[in-house]
């Protein structure tokens, strides 16, 4: 091969124009590097399922005041957590204006939001290349061992000093570089999600929000037919995003299909009134890595780093499901680390390990450590059945005025607990695990 042929076409190739990829590309272009951003879809956002809740503080650091400019749907000022049984529900409802300023969480529809982020990258000088599916990594033996030197798509090869894999949960690139083996099934969940269109005034009335405020509901218990996982429901401007996240191993064990559980969820008497009269405008399914820190694989190899969901960066604490903010956090760390590696002219695994150091120092890994035990805590089956029954039992006895003399709340709780299949030592064990996990 001639010297000319091995000259890199770009400083950095980023594969995947989701939040992780676009922010990495944007920040590297701002540092003055030549960056190409390759996207499989015909346009950024095209391949994405509806959207999600974005915890926006980290993005606000990259694009100050982004919530004013970016296509965000609503600012979440109301978080509701609900335990469901077959016919009742117990909710904790936190509505707080302090959550609105500065922006804590917003809902976004990815088809619009990803396009906006990619446009910012393009403005900063990134070469956006949509409609291209990367087929393989180009690898060569370097002085410090095997080194990723570019990508191949069809008949074309592109070379760069660093390749950034931002290709999502199934990251083909991270796997082909040997950075991730196929994760065990109990670290994978399947998400089924729909967007239900409703007039914005109806949404504001049903969810008790005004203007651009919105609500996010996290739901556990009967909504998943007792399968490990949970449901969510949140408000966009003139639509609702509603879905379930189901642990793959538990779903198989129960012999159910994800679609079956999802239909049950939509028809649940607690959910149905929110959705009534709405029209389903999108429906889809997506694999979710929900293993927290355990899923975070090796994120650096010679000539390549992995960011966002491709690196296994998601947190499901039971109350919040996070992915996009961690993706953006990893992008910030990756852009710094790659910048330093290129400046030091060392893009081997050693040079790029600067990324891992920045990632470890960031809120991303700190939060993963905080919630380290959440995945295994959420694997406790009682979380999905008995606790909802217990809570519903207590509140039923408190509010049911059936002519019997009222009892003290403690007595009510004790009696409800006796009827429940739960054992005290389970509750103590789960409570302790929960406190440590969350």
């Amino acid at each position: 091969m001639t010297a000319e042929a091995t000259e890199p076409d770009f400083d950095v190739i980023v594969v995947g124009a989701g939040p992780a990829g676009s922010v990495t590309a944007y920040l590297l272009a701002q540092q003055g590097h030549s960056v190409v951003l390759i996207e499989r879809g015909e346009a950024p956002g095209a391949k994405n399922l509806s959207g999600g809740v974005l915890y926006g503080r980290v993005l606000d650091e990259v694009f100050p005041g982004f919530a004013e400019e970016a296509p965000v749907e609503r600012r979440i000022t109301r978080h509701v957590t609900t335990f469901l049984t077959g016919d009742s529900s117990v909710s904790v409802d936190y509505a707080g204006r302090p959550l609105a300023e500065p922006v804590n969480a917003v809902t976004v529809l990815r088809a619009k939001f990803d396009a906006w982020l990619a446009e910012r990258a393009e403005e900063a000088g990134v070469f956006l290349m949509p409609g291209v599916r990367v087929d393989e990594l180009l690898r060569e033996e370097g002085p410090a061992g095997p080194q990723v030197v570019g990508v191949r798509a069809g008949d074309d090869e592109l070379r760069a000093r660093v390749v950034v894999a931002a290709d999502g949960v199934n990251s083909f690139l991270a796997r082909s570089a040997g950075l991730r083996s196929k994760p065990p099934e109990h670290h994978l969940a399947v998400g089924v999600k729909a967007v239900i269109s409703l007039p914005r005034t109806v949404i504001e009335d049903r969810f008790a929000v005004t203007g651009d405020e919105g609500a996010a509901h996290a739901i556990v218990g009967d909504c998943t037919l007792g399968i490990g996982g949970g449901g969510f429901l949140y408000t966009n401007t003139d639509s609702l995003s509603v879905g379930v996240v189901l642990r793959l191993d538990d779903l198989l064990k129960h012999g159910r299909t994800a679609a079956e559980v999802f239909d049950h969820y939509l028809a649940h008497p607690v959910l149905a009134p929110y959705l009534r009269g709405g029209e389903m405008v999108e429906y889809g399914s997506h694999l979710v890595a929900e293993g927290g820190l355990e899923m975070l694989g090796s994120v650096v190899t010679g000539g390549m780093v992995v960011v966002g969901e491709a690196a296994g960066l998601t947190i499901n604490s039971g109350l919040t499901v996070r992915g996009m903010d961690l993706a953006i956090g990893s992008a910030v760390a990756a852009a710094r680390g790659i910048g330093e590696a290129i400046a030091a002219d060392d893009v081997t695994a050693t040079g790029l390990s600067a990324y891992r150091r920045h990632l470890d120092d960031s809120f991303v890994v700190k939060d993963l450590r905080t919630y380290e035990r959440a995945p295994s805590f959420l694997e406790r089956d009682r979380m999905y059945g008995a606790y909802g029954e217990l809570a519903a039992g207590i509140f039923h006895d408190v509010f049911a005025m059936d002519g019997t003399p009222r009892k003290h709340l403690v007595t009510v709780a004790r009696e409800a607990f006796k009827r429940s299949p739960l054992r005290l030592r389970d509750v103590i064990s789960d409570g302790w695990a929960g406190v440590r996990a969350l």
């Binding site: 015909e42 290349m129 409609g131």
Partner: protein, 258 residues
């Protein structure tokens, strides 16, 4: 030979939302090169390569048709350069208006031998623009073109018509509208997209073009989706696959379909 390919930056049907009433909503669809136009790009490229000519892309419409993404999407598909007329006044322009602006742009490009276009656009789908363009230019215009090759002093054009195919000799200049399946268009590769960013783009000012003022405008009075075919909606018992197949064959025979 100087070939202009007139194409439309139109909603991508992959993003279409089909309502339960059967109505198609393209308002949330991301734009792309209109579905049938890459066929015209491909025909033009092959003809230009065979005759040593140039292929110029031409598109007109509202301001949103001219973005880095839209430029690369067109230029990565075998064009040599691009000419764009993007003006707010053309945002919801009808086919006649689009055709008159295209004609003015073709004249401004100058010395054009052939204009190629897809048969119809993916969103409006009236198939009217190419032939109106031919009329405004005063050139020969042919639709349903399934193949085109160069011949002495002109073109040999194959047309795919309901009664069969005809092959005709066509003098230039001419406007040809290609069928959606005339050729399989190329898929742009990474090098094509990188190369696209280096190709020249000329933006023509609508006000500076010699376009006659719009004539009568169209008022839509009513729309209805096409009547669906009568369906018998028969469901066969599938417990025995062989039995269900026999019933299906029987029903198809009875209906005269077999």
């Amino acid at each position: 030979m100087k070939i202009v390919v007139a194409y439309k930056w139109a909603p991508n049907p992959q993003d279409a939302v089909v309502a339960t009433t059967g109505e198609v909503d393209l308002s949330r669809a991301k734009p792309a090169v209109s579905e049938y136009d890459p066929v015209a790009f491909e025909l033009a490229r092959r003809l230009a390569d065979a005759t040593g000519g140039e292929v110029v892309g031409l598109t007109v419409g509202g301001p949103s048709i001219d973005t880095p993404l839209s430029r690369k999407a067109a230029l990565s598909r075998g064009l040599d350069r691009l000419v764009v007329v993007a003006d707010a006044e053309l945002e919801d322009a009808d086919g006649t208006r689009i055709a008159t602006v295209l004609a003015a742009a073709v004249r401004a490009i100058g010395d054009v031998d052939l204009v190629l276009a897809g048969d119809s656009s993916i969103d409006v789908a009236q198939g009217q623009v190419p032939l109106t363009l031919a009329g405004v230019l005063g050139w020969l215009g042919l639709a349903a073109v399934s193949a085109v090759t160069a011949a002495d002093g002109g073109l040999v054009v194959e047309r795919s018509l309901p009664g069969g195919t005809t092959v005709v000799a066509v003098p230039t200049p001419a406007v040809l509208a290609a069928t959606a399946d005339a050729v399989v268009p190329r898929v742009a590769g990474m090098k094509d997209i990188l190369g696209a960013a280096k190709k020249p783009v000329e933006v023509l000012d609508l006000a500076a073009l010699d376009v006659p003022a719009p004539g009568a405008t169209l008022a839509t009075l009513a729309t209805a989706k096409p009547a669906g075919g009568e369906r018998t909606a028969t469901i066969f018992d599938g417990s025995s696959p062989a039995g269900a197949a026999a019933q299906l064959v029987g029903a198809l025979r009875q209906a005269g379909a077999l």
